[in-house]
Symmetry: C2
Subunit: 148 residues, 2 copies
């Protein structure tokens, strides 16, 4: 079957660069979808490649799978997403990115200030104070995605 539109897991894996197990995982999480052959094997439409691409990019930016899932859920159910649909996602995430960059900059400047000030008095350290306002969170492992 030369130019079949359907892709197997293995094909999606090689073309997208993510492991088969990860694709299974994304599907279980509802991030991608497949239908099955009579022999119970997954078959994917071509747009799954774009979805996976988006997933990876968003992850790299530090967006969690849960958030990505929500965003992807906003895509139209029936039809293949249009360029407009994708644009909405991109724009939203670009804003998140901008915020993240701004936050890191603030942190960097704080660090720079600390070098200047010597800052041996922990109680008055601008970084510490900034950080104190952020404390008091729930249990379990927080901060679980590194923007590498």
């Amino acid at each position: 079957m030369a130019a079949a539109t359907e892709l197997t897991v293995g094909q999606v894996a090689t073309r997208s660069g993510v492991a088969v197990s990860a694709l299974h995982f994304y599907e279980a999480r509802g991030l991608i979808r497949s239908h099955r052959t009579s022999g119970n094997q997954r078959r994917y439409g071509r747009d799954v490649l774009r979805r996976v691409a988006i997933i990876k990019v968003a992850q790299e930016v530090g967006i969690s799978l849960a958030e990505i899932g929500e965003a992807l859920a906003s895509l139209p159910e029936g039809r293949t997403p249009t360029r407009e649909d994708w644009n909405l996602l991109s724009t939203a995430w670009r804003d998140q990115l901008d915020q993240k960059i701004a936050q890191l900059k603030k942190l960097r400047d704080g660090l720079t200030d600390c070098i200047g000030c010597g800052c041996m008095s922990i109680d008055r350290c601008p970084l510490r104070n900034k950080e104190d306002r952020l404390s008091a969170q729930g249990p379990g492992a927080r901060r679980l995605l590194v923007t590498r």
Copy 2:
């Protein structure tokens, strides 16, 4: 004992804003150190507050405990670290921060480009290609710290 230099875990916890369990954990990881009373209770020198502050700031910047541990290990063993010692750390971490910011910017700009270009051809997407060069990592859970 009014102005004792020694601090208990509880005191360090309240003053630094991290849980007692976290302090135990840091100590097990070798990030901080204590000595024990005759009754086997921990006592900390005052500089532990500064260490903990540094740990938290570095984490916020997205540095893993392992890396922080290495950096802290570079501090002088015997004497209380001088301002110079801390400066070395700060500078190194500021550089990391700068890199991280640059990376995020590149990603954001790539995303913006993608909006412009429509980018329906995944294979030629600048984001995907950039990301492909970064793939092929070890097993287990990577990307484990979010810069919130």
